[in-house]
Every structure is written in C-alpha cells, then in structure tokens.
C-alpha cells in the first residue's frame, strides 16, 4: 500500500487526523497523572504534519518518516516531541525504500531501542514503551496489520492502568499514578491501531 505517494499521503492524513480527534481524551489522561498537555502537544504535532502533507507525499517512505519525526521534534514540545520524533526518525533511517517484512521488523526494533535510549527507560515503567514493546512482539509472531495487533496494543495500553509510573512527570505521583492509563501508551496504541486498520482496509 505504501509504494505510491497517494496512499502514503492518505495514511499520514488518517493517522494525524486520529491524533487530532483524540486530543481531548489524551489531555484528560494526562491531567490525571501528568501535566495535562499531551493532547494539545500531540495535536500541534499532527497539525504540523498535515500542513506538510503535499511535500511528505512526494518523498520516499524513509524520507517522509524522517520529516515527520523532525516535525514532531520541533513542534510537539514536552518530552513526547523528542520521543515520538526519535521513533519516526529512526524508522526512516532504518527502512529501505521498499521494505520487506524483515526490514520492517528490524526498523521497528531499532526505533524502539532509540526511544528507550532517549527516554532512559524500559518497558514496565508506565510509558509508551509498554505499548511499543508488546506491539513489536506481536508483529514478530504475525508480521502484518491485523485485528490481533489492534487488540494487543489496546490490551497493552490498558495494562498500564495498574502500573506505577517510574519515568516522566507521572513518576512524581508515586503510588497515586496507579489506576490511570498512561497517556503516552494510549497515544501509541491509537496510532498503531489506526495504521493497522488503514493498511488492512487497503489490502482488501
């Protein structure tokens, strides 16, 4: 699906729009355990990506991913800007222009490790990594967009609710961070879910 600019354009637009549509939900989650700006920040990043849609569609897949990452770094603010920016930029640096399945898995793994390094974190600390890591495991078992992947990331985001935050602003709350879904885990699940459904629909 991602071989031509028009389909890449549609996918980027769909994901950015999903983030914008869920901005209030992300903000509400962040108000519970963070500083309440995750929705606004991610929306600003998504809008920056949408503003650049024409030029993104003309780029190859890796170049488009790098540009998306740079837009997120510059526009999102907060810690999620560099974290998501690093994820997309690393994907772009790692992927060849027409990736085979193994290339995609390897690029996802590199991007996950880059986010871990940037955030000095690892899965289990109530962060976006608690969705990205299980997503990679699910993809390794069944390397394609699938309802199974969507279910896995939704489940993984839910699994952050009983976790105690050990990184980011939420970690200041200690025990009080327990009982709330991590906003970064939710935004990661949202994007993976949206990408997966869009790829599935276009494959039909």
């Amino acid at each position: 699906m991602l071989e031509d600019g028009e389909s890449r354009r549609r996918l980027i637009e769909t994901v950015a729009q999903a983030v914008i549509d869920h901005a209030e939900e992300l903000t509400a989650l962040d108000q519970a355990i963070g500083d309440g700006d995750h929705g606004v920040n991610m929306k600003r990043g998504a809008e920056a990506v949408l503003a650049d849609l024409d030029s993104l569609a003309e780029k190859s897949l890796p170049e488009a991913l790098k540009s998306i990452g740079m837009a997120l770094v510059m526009k999102v603010g907060g810690a999620s800007g560099p974290l998501y920016g690093t994820f997309f930029m690393t994907l772009g640096k790692s992927l060849p222009e027409t990736p085979a399945t193994a290339d995609t898995l390897a690029a996802f793994e590199e991007a996950l490790e880059a986010v871990m390094a940037r955030g000095k974190s690892h899965p289990g600390q109530k962060t976006m990594l608690d969705v990205l890591a299980p997503a990679l495991e699910t993809l390794k078992a069944e390397p394609k967009a699938s309802p199974g992947l969507c279910a896995a990331v939704a489940e993984a985001a839910k699994a952050t609710i009983p976790m105690r935050a050990e990184r980011g602003r939420a970690s200041f709350l200690g025990e009080r961070s327990i009982g709330h879904m991590d906003p970064g885990a939710r935004s990661s699940a949202l994007m993976i879910d949206t990408v997966s459904k869009a790829l599935e629909a276009s494959a039909k």
């Binding site: 700006d37 510059m74 907060g78 800007g81 920016g85």
Partner: protein, 131 residues
C-alpha cells in the same frame, strides 16, 4: 580564541522562570559570560521547545562550549535532542548539568566567568560549590 568563556543556557518550562534565573545570573555574576535563556512550548504555553533551545545554544555559543541548565524532565529530553542536532564539532562541547536550575546557573556562570573549562563548570554546578 583562548579567552572564550563557557556560555550558559537556561531552559525552563516557564519563560518567567528562565528569564528570572537569567536576571539573577546577570546581577550576581555580571555580563562577561555569554548567557541565553528559553522557556515555553511552541504555542507560548508552559513547556520546552527544541527549536528555541537550538536558538539559545547559538546565542550563547563560544569555542569554550556551553553549559545547559534545565528544570524538569521534558526540558532535559528536549535539550538532549537539541544537542544531538548540533554539528559534530560542537556536540562534544555542550554539557547538560544535573543541577537545580537557579542555583546551578548562578554557580556555573560564576565558574565560567573565571575562565574555567566546560568540565569544571559542569562539575561545580553539579556539586553546587565553587571548585
């Protein structure tokens, strides 16, 4: 260029905190240290922005390098990102100090004004006492 002094960059979520910290540095240490501050997200709310941190590093840059003082998590992550985006010849001459922003900035600037190299500026800020 051996007379260059280490520059100081202050990165806070709040522009008022950043500017206030810079005012304290200026009053206590004087004008001989290159100093820049930034704060606020790209829309002007509380937060930090890689773009403005890049600008502040440029503003405070000297060949002796730059010491960055940050407040909370996102300020550090965004500063690290900004450092990585620097050209190779600059990257090794920027230190993000693990110190409280106000006290660290004043101590770092005091040390820098005496001509101390970057590593000493950083260590002194982190220990919060003059070398």
């Amino acid at each position: 260029m051996s007379e260059d002094k280490v520059g100081i960059v202050i990165v806070s979520h709040s522009p008022e905190v950043a500017r206030g910290t810079a005012d304290m540095v200026r009053q206590m240490v004087g004008d001989e240290v290159p100093l820049a501050w930034c704060g606020g997200d790209p829309d002007g709310g509380l937060g930090t922005s890689v773009e403005t941190i890049l600008g502040a590093i440029d503003q405070a840059w000297t060949n002796a390098g730059v010491a960055i003082l940050v407040d909370l998590g996102g300020a550090e992550t965004n500063s690290e990102m900004a450092v990585e985006m620097q050209p190779d010849e600059r990257r090794g001459r920027i230190a993000i100090c693990n110190a409280p922003i106000v006290e660290g900035a004043v101590i770092a600037a005091t040390e820098a004004s005496g001509g101390a190299p970057l590593e000493v500026v950083r260590r002194t800020a982190e220990e919060l006492s003059p070398a």
